[in-house]
Symmetry: C2
Subunit: 210 residues, 2 copies
């Protein structure tokens, strides 16, 4: 096993370093965030940083890169207070990846990449028609992470749209049945195969497969 | 497609709701965080909330639940300023899950679940011997998320331990070759199958598979 010091990692060419460090945190969720600006112009962008913060209240976070690199999604959320999170499925993965291109503010990424916009009254932000699992959020707080000028955007779920057939009897969502995929690093996408579900762990009790 | 309002979700039994909301954010990374307290007592716990914050500086975050529910890892990090993140591989998944049991502070989870402790001088926090990819971090900041009393713990990578054979020529880490796995919700674990890697996206350029 090789030891890499942070001095070594810092000395690397920036794209090599970005690929490496992005993979260290492990597999991630692939989600499309839909917004509109104050004039109603839709925006859609892929994020691999959506994270569960809590179930009650139902809070979801995502990391927005510095404003100079990625202004549109966060500015739209600030302007309207509303956004949607839409699961990426294997059938739309290439289109979802293409939303990461730096389109100008006046470009509608839904149209640019070929995904269908779905507005669900009275929610102001657009959903991705093709996504099997999608939900709307209202902005709760934007936390500025000063060390690298990124932002933790915190939202509370207001409405979920899902096919009941993928929800198991204990509330677990069968994301494989819903065709939701995983991602890694800057550019890799994966289907999954379940190893197991395990019961709630207790000290002095052996692990029990569900 | 069914519409579930937040009022409906809030009305559910708490474990059903927790399973459901935990799955909504999508697939996650499975990681073990190793710490010691001020007396050198090791602690090991599984976290599904490790997240990439940036590559330069190399910042990694994780969400720590409220102190009353999960005090040991965050208190040890506060006390020592140092911790390790260790990938969960398919060969240790059941043991890794078992670290989520509420062991008393004086119990060493490495011993309780049967994982080997590895100290690498001069890093104060313990690594998981069995993990193919592991790294040490120094604490940078703990952000209190007031809305649900959780914490975003931010660390900077100081040292990475990895087998060179899983690092591709552009810095991407082949986590499938390293046997790192993905997880979902509170209790499900997955191997993965790569769909594709796509090139850096640009407007007016078709998506290109790498």
């Amino acid at each position: 096993m090789q030891h890499l010091s942070i001095q070594t990692i810092q000395s690397w060419e920036r794209f090599y370093r970005a690929n490496f460090v992005n993979c260290l945190s492990g597999f991630k969720a692939a989600n499309l965030i839909g917004t509109v600006n104050a004039e109603g112009q839709p925006n859609l962008a892929i994020f691999s940083s959506v994270i569960h913060l809590g179930s009650d209240p139902a809070l979801i976070g995502y990391i927005n890169r510095p404003l100079a690199a990625a202004p549109h999604t966060i500015e739209n959320i600030k302007a309207t207070g509303v956004y949607t999170i839409n699961h990426v499925s294997s059938t739309i993965v290439a289109k979802a990846h293409q939303t990461s291109a730096k389109y100008d503010q006046e470009i509608n990424e839904f149209e640019a990449v070929g995904l269908a916009t779905k507005f669900i009254h009275p929610i102001q932000a657009p959903f991705v028609e093709e996504s099997e699992i999608k939900y709307a959020l209202k902005l709760v707080e934007i936390v500025h992470i000063t060390h690298n000028n990124t932002f933790l955007v915190i939202g509370e779920i207001t409405d979920v749209f899902i096919n009941e057939s993928v929800v198991l009897e204990d509330g677990f969502i069968d994301l494989e049945k819903a065709d939701s995929i995983s991602c890694l690093g800057l550019d890799a996408y994966f289907t999954t195969n379940r190893i197991a579900r395990y019961g709630y762990a207790k000290p002095d009790m052996p692990v029990k497969e569900l």
